[in-house]
């Protein structure tokens, strides 16, 4: 694939100059769509938005992140621990480099301590859950910059 970066530059400039908020273009299987900030083209379906569920929802994707940012999510429901025992030091701290397969934390489920390993090598950017906090399936635990 070749992104039409150069052509795009001119197009983007043009569209911005003219205050466009949306642009869609399709030609023989080729399709392009551009949206600009401040153009909330959100289309809320008429859906009941009742009493919000109390539990944390799975984090929604953040489209603005750089391409090399990845998340490590909990593979099961349980309780999150940053260290192997209450007195021990955390497995990892923000800023360190982690290897693929390195243990990042423990999620306790059904009295079993499950070590969660990193799926990627990279730099730990953020720990998203407090020590001792309950986590649900798929909940994001760590943010990494993949190296």
């Amino acid at each position: 694939m070749a992104l039409p970066t150069q052509e795009l530059e001119g197009l983007l400039q043009l569209l911005r100059e003219h205050g466009a908020t949306e642009f869609e273009y399709e030609d023989e299987g080729y399709r392009l769509r551009i949206g600009f900030a401040g153009a909330p083209v959100t289309v809320a379906a008429a859906s009941p938005a009742p009493a919000p569920a109390a539990a944390a929802a799975t984090a929604s994707p953040e489209p603005e992140e750089a391409a090399n940012v990845v998340w490590i999510a909990s593979p099961f429901v349980g309780t999150f621990y940053r260290a192997p025992s209450p007195d021990a030091a955390p497995f990892v701290e923000v800023g360190v480099n982690v290897r693929k397969g390195q243990v990042l934390c423990i999620v306790e489920a059904m009295k079993l301590m499950n070590e969660i390993e990193s799926e990627h090598a990279g730099t730990l950017l953020e720990v998203l859950v407090e020590n001792g906090q309950a986590v649900e399936y798929g909940q994001r635990l760590f943010k990494l910059a993949k190296s």
Partner: protein, 451 residues
């Protein structure tokens, strides 16, 4: 009473349980798969926990995840709904071992009554009528002798399993030997157990089931019967209470036998005893379901008893509040139609986004649904969207009410079986109350032939 209940289910039954909890002042925890993050039960529960990805095996059937969710949310009981883990005695045992209450019968009672063969044995011991049948068939000659004793037609069945495999309907003695041989071979390969038995075969049976409810203090209620003869491939489509084919006398006689059997086995919680009714109106016990049934609302509407509230109450150790010797006061007639996301002609499942949803309302109409406008029905689960239930003084008025309710129901964006249900409601057998488990098959054939 419990403080907080985890509802280990989804869809309309999760909403059903959630409503009962709300009315009892009990807090609720919904569990859900990733595919159900926006589901109605998740939105209305006090708390919600994602327990796994879309496939049921990894979420709604994932015992470890459900128990963990119960632990991190600090519930004191788990309601299994129907399907999924609701009849899994091992799950009930795990729940109990974790110090939580399983809202259902004790694991042992589930093992006795939930198992087809052991359930039939318990039924026989306690005087419930069974279809005339044989012990294990030793040979084709034995099969002929037993068939002649019982009377043709008979059905050969595999002892090791169900689902139609190893089954043969035999209408005369000359057919027995060949059927015996082929069924033996089929059962052997399907279930690693070639053993067969035979039973009287009823050509056009009705499906009749009795609702029971027992507390742990030895009281048992029987709340009348439901007729669920309108089925397609063993999937119930329309249910009603009372059955148009059961006399008051028969109802109270069966109630007494059932109450005696359940008391004798120390049963507790909701239970449904399924019977087959033959052309002469005789009832034969088939099996027992040890959980709430999809079609429980028709019993609620004719008795005024909230079955799920009572199920939760008895699980918490409470006593049923009326003596079990009191005959129930029934009122009127109730019908339920299951609204499924499927093509009304091909019956192909039809998941997708519901663009519009407007349930019917007005007098005598109840809707139990797990959907809303804007929600996408996942492809991963069964196709039940909603149940439309009506109540009216008599059967004819109830049919009329159901027709107008289905005419009012709007579900846009996906296909549903509403047109098929609407067609069923006009079928002469249905209108006269003479439908059998073969009726739907005939209606489908007529539709296909353009009749």
């Amino acid at each position: 009473m419990f403080q907080k209940i985890l509802i280990a289910n989804r869809g309309e039954i999760a909403m059903r349980v959630l409503r009962a909890c709300r009315e009892l002042g009990v807090r609720t925890v919904a569990v859900h798969s990733e595919a159900d993050a926006g589901a109605l039960h998740v939105r209305f529960a006090d708390e919600a926990v994602c327990i796994g990805p879309a496939p049921s095996a990894k979420s709604y059937l994932n015992v470890a995840a459900i128990i963990s969710a119960a632990e991190i949310t600090g519930v004191d009981a788990i309601h299994p709904g129907y399907g999924f883990l609701s009849e899994n005695a091992d799950f009930a045992a795990v729940v109990a071992r974790c110090g939580l209450t399983f809202i259902g019968p004790p694991a042992e009672a589930m093992r006795t009554w939930g198992d087809k063969l052991r359930g039939r044995e318990a039924a026989r011991r306690h005087g419930l009528p069974l279809l005339p049948g044989s012990e294990r068939l030793e040979s084709a000659e034995h099969a002929i002798a037993e068939a002649e004793r019982i009377g043709f037609p008979v059905i050969l069945k595999a002892r090791g399993g169900g689902g139609g495999r190893g089954m043969r309907i035999v209408r005369e003695a000359s057919e027995v030997a060949r059927a015996f041989d082929s069924a033996t071979a089929e059962a052997g390969s399907a279930f690693s157990n070639p053993e067969l038995y035979l039973e009287r075969f009823v050509e056009r049976p009705k499906h009749i089931e009795f609702q029971a409810l027992a507390d742990r203090h030895g009281q048992v209620w029987t709340l009348g019967e439901r007729e669920c003869s309108l089925q397609r491939r063993h999937q119930k489509l329309v249910e009603e209470a009372p059955s148009p084919s059961l006399s008051e006398e028969r109802r109270s006689q069966m109630g007494e036998v059932i109450r005696r059997a359940l008391r004798a086995t120390g049963y507790e919680s909701l239970g449904t005893l399924e019977f087959l009714m033959d052309e002469r109106g005789e009832l034969y016990f088939l099996e027992m379901n040890t959980r709430v049934q999809v079609e429980h609302p028709v019993t609620e509407m004719t008795t005024g008893v909230d079955l799920v509230v009572e199920q939760i109450r008895v699980a918490s150790g409470a006593r049923l509040e009326l003596p079990d010797t009191r005959p129930w006061k029934f009122r009127g007639h109730s019908i339920e139609c299951r609204i499924l996301a499927e093509d009304p002609v091909s019956f192909a499942p039809w998941p997708g986004r519901i663009t519009e949803y407007h349930p019917p309302g007005g007098a005598g109409v109840r809707v139990d649904s797990g959907v809303y406008g804007g929600w996408t029905v996942p492809k991963d689960y069964d196709s039940l969207l909603a149940k439309v239930v009506v109540h009216a003084p008599g059967r004819e008025q109830a049919l009329g009410r159901m027709r107008r309710a289905l005419d009012e129901l709007i579900i846009g964006g996906i296909r549903t079986n509403v047109p098929f249900q609407r067609r069923l409601l006009d079928d002469p057998e249905v209108c006269e109350g003479t439908m059998t488990t073969r009726t739907v098959e005939r209606v489908v054939r007529e539709l296909r032939e353009g009749a």
